[in-house]
């Protein structure tokens, strides 16, 4: 299947940071998350994917098209929510929306204003008077109002309260429900996004160090709880993030399928329990190179 977005060997050099050699293929009809700590290069990558900044080297193709000659066509089909939305700060929400609407071929003003009301963002309000969260909501409303086929969001839930965060996540889930539209989202926290993402990528220090289907990832990474002495030392040595707990210990297995048989007896006796690892724990383990 042709990926909806394809990046090859993307590199962007700044004087104090370099995003190196990132290659990704985003399948159509899915939610793809890019996680990573602050400063990992997520925003740089999102900007490169949406052609906000020029790449030092590498290529990006969206919908099978290149930005060099089809930028307008591509951007008509992309809804982009930047980490720091940069509207015309001294002008109203209404002005900015009308300005943006004049560029899009498939603008749905009704949908936009309904969303604005739902998000409780005043249309007459001057943009610089909006909170960061309100700016993000305004940006999301814009991105969802021109019938985009691909949504790219950079830290969209940062600065939002838990209710709005859930609202946004639900919208993203609905956006891809027809199986034809795609969401690419970056975040430094997995909370919520980890639940809805089908593909997970992990960036660290300017490199894409991991990409996988989430289910495959969760099948391999498990947290193993065990009573002291229930596991042989060599097996314990293969676990990471081993913690002492009141009822024993727990550790993270990065390749559960390989040790499953060795745990079978412990599981049967009740001395060993296995549960899905939290995405946060997996990503931290990866970041620490374990």
């Amino acid at each position: 299947m042709t990926p909806i977005l394809e990046a090859k060997s993307l590199t962007k050099r700044f004087h104090d940071f370099t995003l190196r050699d990132v290659s990704v293929e985003i399948p159509s009809g899915s939610i793809v998350a890019f996680f990573g700590p602050t400063g990992a290069g997520k925003t740089t990558l999102m900007k490169l994917l949406t052609h906000q900044i020029p790449a030092s080297s590498g290529t990006v193709r969206v919908f099978g098209l290149g930005y060099d000659d089809r930028e307008k066509e591509i951007k008509n089909r992309i809804g982009y929510v930047p980490q720091e939305p940069n509207f015309y700060q001294d002008r109203s929400v209404e002005f900015n929306a009308r300005f943006a609407a004049s560029f899009f071929e498939r603008w749905d003003g009704g949908a936009f204003y309904r969303m604005l009301d739902e998000f409780r963002v005043g249309r007459e309000k001057v943009v610089k008077r909006l909170s960061r969260g309100q700016k993000t909501l305004f940006s999301i409303a814009l991105a969802l109002s021109h019938q985009a086929d691909l949504l790219i969001l950079d830290e969209p839930t940062a600065g939002l309260d838990i209710i709005l965060r859930r609202t946004i996540l639900e919208r993203l889930r609905k956006f891809v429900a027809d199986g034809e539209r795609t969401v690419v989202v970056s975040s430094h926290i997995t909370d919520g996004l980890g639940d809805i993402a089908e593909y997970v990528n992990f960036l660290s220090e300017g490199r894409l160090i991991f990409q996988s289907e989430k289910d495959e990832l969760l099948a391999r990474w498990k947290r193993v709880h065990f009573k002291d002495g229930a596991l042989p030392p060599d097996l314990v040595g293969r676990l990471s993030d081993v913690r002492q707990q009141p009822f024993g210990s727990s550790g993270l297995s990065r390749d559960f399928l390989a040790i499953r048989e060795q745990l079978a007896a412990g599981i049967a006796s009740g001395d060993v329990k296995v549960e899905n690892a939290r995405l946060d724990d997996i990503l931290i383990a990866m970041h620490q190179g374990e």
Binding site: H51, Q52, E71, K72, P82, P85, F87, Y88, F103
Partner: protein, 211 residues
């Protein structure tokens, strides 16, 4: 494109009024036709100032999220500056004809107006490139310095000349003022060619720009 045009036009119009209304008011009040030369000499100043303020209020980060290419943005901005330079030249021409039409100084003033409009056009293109290459902060420093020097120089030159020779229409080069009309046409053609060249450079600069 019309949205960008409309938005940026506001700054051109307000700056045109700011730099034109005072000398025009004085012209009507004092009946001193020499003030038209101030308007002519201020063309580079107000056009530079218009570029500066329209750029300072621009949000390219927002524009880049919209389906518009850098090439289109550059063309729009350059067309705007060209349009206003031409409009201003026409306005100046009308006033100069009205004020000096039947006098020997007329051709000198017209030549001066044409020369400053042509230079301003190229200058405006240069400022746009400067802005996209170095950012609005550096542009601000550059244009403000130019504007202050421009206003001071105009004032100094104007006062001296107006007192001594009754106007600064004579500042225009003799070959342009006393030559046939085709000289001014060639001047405009050269300015347009330079402006077009700058626009091509500007497209390349804008594509690589991160401001």
């Amino acid at each position: 494109m019309s949205a960008i045009l409309r938005k940026s036009s506001f700054f051109y119009i307000t700056h045109l009024c700011t730099f034109s209304i005072p000398p025009l008011t004085m012209l009507l009040e004092w009946r001193n036709r020499g003030l038209l030369s101030v308007m002519a000499l201020w063309v580079p100043v107000w056009l530079s100032s218009s570029v500066l303020w329209s750029e300072r209020q621009e949000s390219y980060a927002f524009l880049r999220t919209l389906p518009v290419t850098d090439r289109q943005i550059v063309r729009t901005k350059f067309s705007l500056a060209l349009g206003f330079a031409v409009i201003y030249w026409l306005i100046l021409s009308l006033f100069i004809r009205g004020a000096w039409g039947s006098t020997p100084e007329y051709s000198g003033y017209m030549a001066l107006a044409s020369l400053t409009c042509a230079i301003s056009l190229v200058l405006a293109g240069g400022w746009y490139i400067f802005s996209w290459r170095f950012g609005p902060s550096v542009l601000t420093a550059g244009v403000m310095t130019f504007v202050v020097i421009g206003i001071l120089a105009t004032w100094v030159v104007d006062v001296k000349r107006m007192v001594s020779i009754g106007g600064i229409g004579t500042l225009a080069p003799r070959w342009l003022a006393e030559g046939p009309w085709i000289y001014q046409a060639v001047l405009f053609a050269a300015a347009l060619a330079a402006y077009y060249g700058l626009m091509q450079v500007a497209v390349r600069v804008k594509i690589k720009s991160e401001f």
